[in-house]
């Protein structure tokens, strides 16, 4: 976003008033009030108190990782409905159309961000809105991912034209690359969101969409559709992590089809969950309702690349909020003072400051997390190594980040998100009124600050509790005796309390940009 802002005291005192474009989180104007001290203290108190309550009560919990499920595809009727092409094909078509519309409006539409469909749709509806939807309800991205759909259609068409041959080159994906390609792309995306100044300009969004389309379709062409979705398509990977929190999962019951799968997707308990490739090929499948967050505690092997992604996601969410606080504005001012305000429109000191944030925050997070992992390793007398500790407990921190993310973005989604109503009628900003909604005026009082504070603090405390529970579940599964489970959890609890307090603290800061 490119609101103008002045860099406060230091520079103004020097007599030169500077106007800088500022842009936390891609696009959109924040209007929420800081959470008052009382709410902050109560939230913090609850996080600490409930943690200890939890520890004292849960000593008896078992490490069994099964949970209640309800299969939405359980009846013939529901299966026919939910998997019907009559339902799914229009959704897929619509999704591909939206990708086309983002590119078309980006290049051909009005250049003012607020009068163009693409910035509001991409940054607010798709990124913020869909992330929250996926984290709570389920991984709809696996269904609506336009690149997956397009490539699927292309493969189908190629089959007709040249029967028996596959469109993809199906090169072997080097296992050592893991999900690093997706991770790199996600770092770049994060940088565009939090540091790049032009991320809200429609034509730039269109270019990003085109470049990303080429990368994604190219990756699928070389390595095969599912290989690339699993390892290289940043959003499939990121949304996949988020959807573990949600109330749904897909599962393949009989694993006869799994060997056909390009990757052995079974976890350490021999279950095949959330593997979309197996799901598509299998006939014996489930779409389950499940308890919140439980998917983050699966019994599976976590590799370093996944650990890196989780840490990156935790850090990114926090940085997006932190970059709007007065503390960060002071850091920006410091960088400006140090390096001068020169530089081009894209590469200037302010971008430098935010770039440092995008890079240093994850690194800082990682070091802190490693430190606490080390403490955990010491507390169990080396039964598990430091890095292994970090890997197995990484997912359990996600609920805190997610709760904070919702608290942080809900106002933006509810207020600026309303822009999509008039924009849907006039996506190019050219005076159309397709749906008759162009005169819709935004209700800026849609959410009361008091409800928002209550919701924010409540969510974070709840997220904290789920995190403590998940870590406990993992600990019970990992360590041989109860004493070790408890000992290992004290450092983890401390870390979680710290992370929760930081999240609450950011919410209590006045937003300055």
């Amino acid at each position: 976003m490119k609101n103008l802002k002045i860099i406060l005291p230091a520079v103004a005192a020097a007599g030169s008033l500077m106007v800088w474009p500022a842009y936390a989180h891609g696009f959109g104007e924040r209007t929420e009030l800081p959470v008052p001290l009382g709410y902050f203290l109560i939230g913090a108190g609850f996080a600490v108190a409930l943690s200890f309550l939890f520890i004292s009560v849960f000593v008896k919990a078992s490490g069994e990782s099964s949970y209640r499920r309800f299969n939405l595809l359980g009846t013939r009727w529901s299966q026919a409905t939910l998997t019907s092409p009559i339902l799914l094909t229009p959704i897929k078509l619509f999704s591909v159309l939206l990708l086309g519309l983002v590119i078309a409006t980006g290049y051909a539409g009005e250049s003012e961000s607020l009068l163009n469909f693409s910035p509001t749709f991409v940054w607010i509806i798709w990124w913020v809105g869909m992330s929250i939807f996926i984290a709570l309800i389920g991984n709809i991205w696996a269904l609506v991912n336009p690149w997956k759909i397009i490539f699927g259609w292309a493969e189908w068409f190629y089959q007709i034209v040249r029967p028996g041959r596959s469109l993809s080159l199906s090169r072997n994906y080097p296992a050592k690359f893991g999900i690093w390609p997706a991770l790199m792309l996600f770092v770049l995306y994060t940088w565009i969101q939090d540091a790049y100044t032009k991320g809200d300009i429609p034509s730039q969004i269109a270019t990003m969409a085109v470049v990303y389309s080429i990368i994604t379709l190219g990756g699928m062409f070389i390595f095969g559709r599912y290989q690339w979705l699993r390892h290289g398509e940043a959003f499939s990977v990121v949304f996949g992590v988020l959807s573990r929190f949600s109330v749904t999962e897909i599962r393949v019951r009989s694993q006869d089809s799994c060997p056909v799968c390009s990757v052995d997707c079974r976890n350490l308990s021999g279950e095949c969950i959330d593997c979309y490739e197996c799901f598509q090929r299998s006939s014996d499948r489930e779409l389950n309702l499940k308890p919140f967050a439980i998917g983050l505690g699966r019994n599976e092997k976590v590799t370093n690349d996944i650990l890196a992604l989780v840490v990156l996601m935790l850090a990114t969410v926090t940085f997006d909020g932190f970059s709007a606080t007065p503390a960060w504005a002071e850091f920006q001012t410091f960088i400006l003072d140090t390096f001068g305000n020169g530089g081009s429109e894209v590469f200037n000191s302010l971008v430098l400051a935010d770039t440092m944030g995008v890079i240093l925050f994850p690194l800082g997070f990682f070091l802190v997390y490693l430190f606490f992992s080390k403490l955990m390793a010491i507390s169990v007398e080396g039964e598990v190594s430091t890095l292994e500790m970090a890997r197995i407990f990484g997912y359990s921190l996600i609920p805190i980040a997610l709760a904070y993310n919702i608290a942080h973005f809900i106002t933006l989604l509810l207020i600026q998100g309303q822009l999509i109503v008039p924009l849907a009628s006039d996506p190019f900003g050219s005076g159309w009124n397709i749906l008759g909604t162009v005169d819709y005026s935004i209700n800026i009082a849609i959410i009361n600050a008091r409800i928002l504070w209550f919701l924010s603090v409540g969510l974070i405390v709840l997220g904290h509790m789920l995190a403590v529970y998940l870590a406990h579940l993992v600990a019970i599964r990992t360590f041989s005796d109860r004493a070790m489970v408890l000992k290992s959890q004290y450092p983890m609890l401390t870390l979680m309390v710290v992370y929760t307090l930081i999240s609450l603290w950011i919410l209590a800061q006045p937003i300055v940009q």
Partner: protein, 255 residues
């Protein structure tokens, strides 16, 4: 798995305590009319953060050492301030939140063309503040035949419309326009010289009736989209000709 009990206890404790706090914080004072002096000197505003409570009817008494446009974001209300002349800036703090104020100083001779000429903003008619229920009337003059006169409420630019004055005489002599909270209805009226137009404020807050387009609509009068932010967003396209400075915030606390 015995997660249920403690989670439930935790949630119950949490919810009840939060509810208590929320209830306690709702000290029910009534909205009031507030006059708040605001000074803009050397492009800095004092106070930097204007704090009001939800529902307050706020009049900012603005004094600036430099003329310009004062813009309360998201509420999307704008006022032109002349140097060293106190200007009243009225709004009803309906939405809670922290809203940015920007100031766009207008240098000498740099006034937007058309804004101050006769047909422009307030050049034809301009009401005082109309309390809910109050009315304002204006009689179309003969020299206005064939013209289209836009109007709006300066306190809520979404309330706007057009008066289309026909050349030929017919027998319409009075027309009514109603302000609601959402819009001015009818949005477009056809009248002829001599017609008396009466606006009735049936919205829940004070409004004004003023001829011309609201400053935000001058560029693109199709309305609808909240245009308060596009000035900043579109900075590149305008290549620095607009220098809008963030000078402070209005904080509307819930009551």
């Amino acid at each position: 798995m015995n997660i249920r009990k403690p989670k439930l206890i935790g949630m119950v404790i949490g919810m009840s305590l939060f509810a208590m706090v929320a209830a306690a914080a709702c000290g029910g004072s009534d909205p009031e009319g507030l006059d708040i002096p605001v000074n803009i000197e050397a492009r800095e505003m004092s106070p930097e953060t204007i704090k009001v409570q939800q529902g307050d009817m706020v009049t900012l008494k603005i004094n600036a050492d430099e003329g310009g446009e004062f813009h309360l974001h998201t509420y999307d209300i704008e006022a032109e301030i002349e140097a060293n002349i106190q200007t009243d800036f009225y709004f009803v703090a309906e939405a809670t939140g922290r809203f940015k104020i920007t100031y766009h100083p207008v240098g000498e001779g740099e006034h937007d063309e058309g804004k101050h000429d006769e047909d422009g903003h307030g050049g034809i008619f301009k009401s005082h503040e109309l309390a809910p229920g109050a009315t304002f009337s204006y009689e179309i003059e003969h020299h206005q035949a064939g013209e289209t006169i836009p109007f709006h409420s300066h306190l809520r630019p979404a309330l706007n419309g057009n008066i289309i004055v026909s050349k030929d005489e017919s027998q319409i002599d009075a027309v009514a326009i109603e302000y609601t909270d959402q819009a001015a209805t009818p949005h477009e009226i056809h009248v002829e010289p001599g017609t008396v137009i009466t606006w009735t404020n049936n919205s829940s807050v004070p409004q004004t009736v003023i001829s011309g387009l609201h400053a935000d609509m001058v560029m693109d009068a199709n309305g609808g989209i909240d245009k308060d932010m596009d000035k900043n967003m579109g900075e590149d396209e305008h290549d620095g000709e607009e220098e809008e400075i963030e000078i402070g915030f209005v904080e509307v606390q819930p009551r």
